[in-house]
Subunit: 376 residues, 2 copies
């Protein structure tokens, strides 16, 4: 289900086979929390050549609800998306969005951020909801530790996360997909910024045995060097023949650096969220379309970009849409940004396949640094 | 520049020739006030087969400004739309949106609704701004009387509007287009609900001589019968060989009834504004996608509709997007609604060409009345 087809240093190019199509890696997965990648139509995602998108278990469980999704034959049919879907377990949202009531060995009790109603997530139930969703990749329920986090809390939390991972795997093996297509399951390495805890977590997950391994609990406010240090220390502890997914990361620079450290998969709200605020990514760094300096700028967002937005509209028009609060601005900036991310990943993959990743990396990071920089 | 190619009773099918393509009439013009038809990309409009859209002189004058538009070679280039554009004169917006300072024979002084700055619109200047915009059809500056409006005010206002129309025509004939393509100019019949004033207005405009004639000051709150009565009374007073444009109208039913009374052109914010609120038009009447009854509805918005939205998404998914406040909802509902309006006009035109408009009208109005109805 996963093949590494080329290596260049620690960087890997591969193919993740799913029943909703092959996913070339390294891959960036646009975030479609509630069954919609914000401001983009499904055909926009196809046009940007997205092979896999994210959904969120917490959000989809609350709305439209697992029952509705089951009646539609799962999220793919409900949202009319026939390529791959990975669902985040919702653990992060339970801890960040909802009013958390109680966390115990059995699971977490929480109040919905929508209507205050009380719900419980157990590792087993989170697998069951993802069976209803029908995602191609199921993530286990975990506790995502905040930053900073003391060693003792990180250690105790990790034990819980590990027990939950075992139960999640058992539940997956005990049950069957509802819609006939295969569902893979990824474990999530936690342990905050403590290398020994991270190693322990990786070993434990390996011994349980998952279809892929995510690194969670990063990009939560720690310095960049800390993030890269943890990625570098975890990577050798993960099986070489399984995909590695760095959750919630990141800027274009972060993606390049993480691929250089052996990561295959990413997701992040940056291209869509920042796009909706007028910030667009270019091969020379970022720019904000609201800026008055673009008032009469006849250039596209990025002269190197071949997306529909860059081949059709000028910065001046896009600025006009943002200053005039036109909804179209959100769609166009998001479409460009997602295309930019996916193109970056495609170019990166090609450079690995052709064993020129180090030179590509140096040139790309150099170019990205010429414009404004974006704090992650 | 305008040909009537078929008649069926008072209803006409024609072609309006512009330097940005032929516009088959009767035609509905989607409203793109600020250089964007709200929530739709220009390629969405092409997909819906829009041949002409509206822009607004007041809004475009304030933002991005006539100077910026000139530097881009006009609105077509600025917004990347190579089909026809009609620009409303902005009179209506001056009277409704801005803080009006003074109306006198020379023109109107007003404060911008954006920043409170003071501006003056004269009939000549409004022509000049539309030269900068480069619209294919220029509307004259007029005073749009409110409803109700007493006879005396309507009469005095009409005299002003008529003098402004003369000056507008002189200014058009005195000046040249800036970008090489031809710009037509329409006069606007006013006179509130008073048939004699309307006749007087129509006669005065005819004697000035315009490329087309609009009926303004309707759909401003008067009963439907009043609107139809005025349209019927004005129509015989307008030249048979020029296009007639009923401004700001209306519901699907209104369009059918007005075409039956000899109108060729329409514009209205209903399909886009109502779409953004979740109200969609179908061949059986309107429905609101926020309604809980669509929670598990696997049908498209309209089973008779072949638009991208109806061939891709269910009511349940669209309802989910609206209840989840996803931006995509705005685009999809607007795309369906605009397609619905344009399809209605195309079917209506075909029925006139085939001399079966009366039967088509009866059948269509019958179908539209089977569902919920929409107050105009």
């Amino acid at each position: 289900m996963f093949e590494v087809i080329a290596r260049n240093g620690a960087a890997r190019a591969g193919i993740l086979h799913t029943d909703h199509g092959d996913v070339p890696t390294p891959v960036f997965m646009p975030v479609g929390t509630q069954g919609s990648v914000k401001a983009l139509a499904q055909r926009d995602l196809r046009e940007a050549d997205a092979h896999i998108i994210l959904g969120n278990t917490y959000h989809l469980y609350l709305r439209p609800g697992a029952d509705v999704l089951e009646r539609f034959g799962g999220l793919h049919a409900f949202m009319s998306w026939d390529r791959a879907i990975l669902t985040d377990s919702g653990g992060y949202q339970v801890f960040s969005l909802s009013e958390l009531r109680r966390i115990e060995d059995k699971g977490v009790t929480f109040k919905s951020h929508l209507d205050g109603s009380t719900h419980e997530f157990t590792p087993e139930q989170v697998v069951a909801i993802q069976r209803s969703i029908g995602s191609d990749i199921i993530m286990v329920l975990d506790e995502c530790t905040p930053y900073p986090c003391d060693r003792e809390y990180a250690g105790t939390s990790l034990e819980l996360t590990t027990r939950w991972a075992e139960r999640s795997r058992e539940e997956l093996l005990r049950t069957k997909p509802l819609y006939g297509h295969r569902q893979l399951q990824f474990g999530i390495v936690q342990g905050s910024v403590f290398e020994d805890l991270r190693q322990k977590s990786a070993r434990a997950l390996r011994s349980i045995g998952f279809d892929g391994y995510a690194i969670g609990g990063l990009a939560v406010g720690e310095p960049l060097e800390e993030m890269y240090r943890i990625v570098s220390s975890v990577e050798p502890a993960l099986p070489a023949d399984k995909p590695r997914y760095l959750m919630g990361v990141g800027t274009p620079e972060n993606l390049v650096e993480a691929v250089a450290r052996g990561i295959d998969m990413f997701d992040c709200v940056l291209p869509t969220r920042n796009g909706r605020n007028g910030q667009v990514f270019t091969s020379m760094g970022t720019l904000n379309l609201r800026n008055a300096s673009y008032k009469e700028d006849k250039r596209p967002i990025d002269e190197r970009c071949l997306c529909h937005v860059c081949t059709t509209y000028t910065r001046a028009y896009l600025r006009h849409l943002f200053t005039s609060k036109e909804v179209l601005a959100l769609n166009l900036a998001s479409l460009h940004n997602v295309t930019f991310y996916l193109t970056l990943m495609r170019e990166m993959r090609a450079s690995i396949l052709e064993s020129r990743f180090p030179a590509w990396k140096e040139e790309t990071l150099g170019r990205l640094a010429t414009g404004q920089t974006l704090t992650p």
